[in-house]
Amino acid sequence: MSHNHHSSPGHEAAHGGHDHDAEGHKKIYWAVGTALLVGTVITVLAREWEFNSVALTIAVALFVASIKAFLVCGYFMHLLSEKKVVYLTLATTVAFAVAMVGLILWSDKDPVTGTSPKTFYVP
């Protein structure tokens, strides 16, 4: 028996006699699933609304995607109540991922030639 006394959904159910909690957690999972589906519909509709601004369109789509990502990480992956070692691992990863993306995008302004690279489509 795991004696991992997390407050995350599901963990208490393992110890029996906490059916009430288990039912609550199941309700949360279904609610999160529904929210994810609603978020998907909003993302698609946002393209329909046509904001006439590329930046705004991208911002709205990525904002909704970020909320969905938070729900998946927080509730399905139990990141709202994890152990320190997991947070440390992920914090390191996020730091390196941000640095990697930043460095790759930095190459957009090539310091050697001073020009942006072009795409190479030739029909």
Partner: protein, 287 residues
């Protein structure tokens, strides 16, 4: 040999070992997909302004099937709910319920891959055709009642075809970059239900003919690379989850806590696959 900490948490990490392991693996996965996402951004921001393919260096929009992509997103989200419900069922000691939820999850995974295969096939039989008068169109054509895949101008010539009857796309408004004026006749055509113009093109007048494949445009290169890599993850996850559902169930009788932990770890991977798609879908289908 007894593997330590499959059930009980280690005192230093506070977790059973497999959970530390899956999180380390997922951390490396973040870097893998992160690299592809930044490659996508770089290609996207350096594309020229304008409507593709009229502007050859422009960025193609609206070429993917949005309703099908939306449906596939729903399929993946549903499977993410059922995999966590399957784990909950084990926590409640309800194996039949676990199996039902897992069956649904694996079915969703296979459904997702089936739909993706259909989408790929649609692209491989869709062409961009440039003619000697400098015009360029996209569309599809049938030869002997079939939509040919991966053809080039050389393929057409080698079959001694003289004329191609092409269903030329009337681009829908999603094909135009955000903020660009959509011509009035295009709204009208789609409102009337016309999505294609049938046009006969002399093969001798064709400069180039390419299917929607990675070498045709950087958009297709990054689209196929990212969705194929994601598809491999779906396939890998489906195999592991199917193994837990059909073959590896002995462990449930021998050591139910360890079995439950395996499902949790498999589920964490499955949620990650869902997470990648949550960003991939708007990025390649909608933006």
């Amino acid at each position: 040999m007894d593997i330590p900490y499959t059930v009980n948490p280690r005192s230093d990490t506070g977790l059973y070992n497999a959970k530390v392991g899956i999180w380390l693996f997922l951390a490396s996965e973040v870097m893998l997909f992160g690299a592809f996402f930044s490659a996508y951004i770089l290609l996207r921001v350096t594309a020229q302004q304008g409507f593709w393919p009229d502007v050859a260096d422009g960025w193609p929009h609206g070429l993917l099937n949005i309703p099908i992509g939306t449906f596939n997103t729903a399929v993946l989200i549903s499977s993410s709910v059922t995999v966590v419900m399957a784990w909950m069922a084990l926590k409640e000691n309800n194996f039949p319920k676990f199996r039902n939820f897992m069956l649904f999850t694996v079915a969703c995974a296979l459904g997702f891959l089936g739909i993706k295969t259909f989408e790929y096939k649609e692209k491989f039989s869709h062409y961009v055709i440039r003619t000697t008068d400098g015009k360029v169109v996209t569309g599809h054509f049938d030869v002997d009642g079939k939509s040919p895949l991966f053809w080039t101008l050389d393929t057409v010539k080698s079959k001694n075809i003289e004329k191609l009857k092409v269903e030329v796309d009337i681009p829908n408004r999603y094909r135009f970059p955000v903020g660009m004026q959509v011509p009035e006749d295009i709204h009208k055509a789609h409102a009337e239900g016309r999505h294609h113009d049938e046009r006969v093109i002399e093969v001798s007048q064709i400069d180039s003919l390419k299917a929607f494949i990675p070498s045709t445009h950087p958009f297709f290169a990054i689209y196929f690379t990212m969705t194929f890599l994601h598809g491999l993850h779906v396939l890998g996850g489906a195999i592991v989850l199917a193994y837990f559902t059909f073959i590896g169930t002995d462990l449930w009788r021998k050591n139910p806590e360890q079995f439950t932990n395996r499902i949790e770890v498999g589920g964490l991977f499955w949620h990650f696959v869902d997470l990648v798609w949550i960003f991939l879908f708007p990025v390649v289908y909608l933006l």
